[in-house]
Symmetry: C2
Subunit: 283 residues, 2 copies
């Protein structure tokens, strides 16, 4: 599939113009796609309109049906609510997608609302600790992975359209089952986020300022700066997968603490070497 | 104190030409200081000599007495052994320092060996996950903090010389008690390192490759690539301070896991918001 085939995406409505939604809007706009936008934050929306990246959607979304594609780019649980609200207006839309970090619950909701044939979840792995329209930028997705999780009843046409949408921003999306997706990101994304925030809380509890850290400590705690609202949503939505991941992390820390407390240098060295081999297989 | 006063540092011997020792050698060489070098790794030493940054020290360190300053830039516990070996040859040396991440044990050893009057520990906060001569570079310390931990019997002249040594590489060193130093770095440096390595081990245990992580996960696990030997030494040497820090981190993870498992969104949001406020006070 090349860019040609995606040329039948004329109008995309994006609700939520934060880091992900805003960056998607910028890329689509740059490729000549008409972008309709909405955001709860009036300043962010005004800025996006002023920069001529998006045209304003009606407050009640009455005009959303003119879009070929609707993208929900709001926090995970907000997206669930929004999908229910919008459902009656989406009869003519050819693809409905989202950008959330968990996929099983939104896919389930789409099926329940009778939107499954046109729903394909998206998860671009491109977020960082910044947020809002001011953080959005062109080419954010250029080197990102994007996972697509079609609803069980999604049509081939809808999947093809989702694929074409993301190829407009460069990545080649990878399709996978929503539940498998959520299991995977619990480890690859949600666990690192919670670990980083937990370390931030731990240091805050000792009255150690972020500025007192060296470059390494700053790197480990970088995600502590992420949006609390967004991550509360993700963690609770994916609790079933995330809780075992957190338990595994706690067990590992306990194990290492035991080795340190008991002066087990060989075992500790092996364990740290395993971590390094994992991080830098070539070395 | 300006650079003039440090001009009486003519010759510095550096044992260990890795990231820290090698970078110090490069900076001192660039300022016209004669640098004598040694490294267990014959290739690294040969490269440093070939680049004309250092002259080779005798294998038995017989010529180390000609240095004004001796810098031990080897892992923490190796530095302890090395100090004992070198002690008889250091009678004419005006300053002995190290660059290790823990300070109480080396300061104690220096006192016991009768070197306390000329021993001032150094800890430049400039390490990252790279290592070896090939990782060393000029200006590594330009924006770094450097802590100085004088032995209890250190002379004012030795402290002044240590201060002058590091000012040659740019930073303005800060003097503090060795035990207070070790307590502090247990939280600011050693805890983030172990957390990053533990997360690496946890993900390795799930067969998740480092390359599967997004930018955030890569940031949190960056330190997992650090030298296992160096960090085994540091963790065991500073076990008394590090173990309570690890316990606090485990407790925080347990707390967050409980909130997630029980769907406590308000409390979880507050906690993640605390982490963000800590990370980004202005936001």
């Amino acid at each position: 599939m090349d860019y040609e085939q995606s040329s039948d995406i004329h109008t995309v409505a994006i609700i939520g113009l934060g880091l992900i939604g805003g960056s998607l809007a910028r890329d689509l706009h740059a490729r000549g796609v008409r972008v309709l936008g909405a955001d709860q934050n009036a300043d962010d929306l005004a800025a996006a309109v002023r920069e001529k990246v998006v045209e304003r959607l009606a407050d009640d979304f009455a005009d959303i049906g003119q879009a070929d594609v609707v993208v929900l780019a709001v926090p995970v649980r907000a997206a669930l609510k929004l999908l229910r609200t919008l459902a009656p207006r989406l009869a003519d839309v050819r693809l409905i997608t989202d950008v959330g970090s968990t996929k099983a619950s939104i896919v389930r909701a789409a099926e329940e609302l009778g939107l499954g044939d046109r729903f394909v979840g998206s998860h671009p792995i491109a977020g960082d600790h910044t947020s809002g329209w001011s953080a959005s930028r062109v080419n954010l997705f250029a080197d990102a992975r994007v996972f697509l999780t079609p609803a069980p009843s999604a049509s081939g046409r809808a999947i093809q359209l989702a694929d074409a949408l993301w190829r407009l921003t460069r990545p080649v999306p990878q399709t996978m089952d929503a539940a498998a997706h959520d299991r995977r990101v619990a480890w690859t994304s949600h666990l690192p986020q919670i670990v980083s925030s937990a370390l931030g809380c731990t240091l805050a509890g000792e009255n150690i300022a972020w500025s007192e850290l060296g470059p390494g400590g700053k790197s480990v705690t970088r995600l502590a700066g992420s949006s609390p609202e967004m991550w509360t949503d993700i963690a609770l939505d994916n609790a079933a997968q995330l809780v075992p991941a957190l338990k595994a992390m706690e067990a590992r820390l306990r194990q290492i603490r035991g080795l340190i407390a008991n002066g087990k240098d060989t075992a500790l060295n092996h364990l740290l070497a395993d971590a390094r081999t994992w991080h830098t297989p070539a070395s």
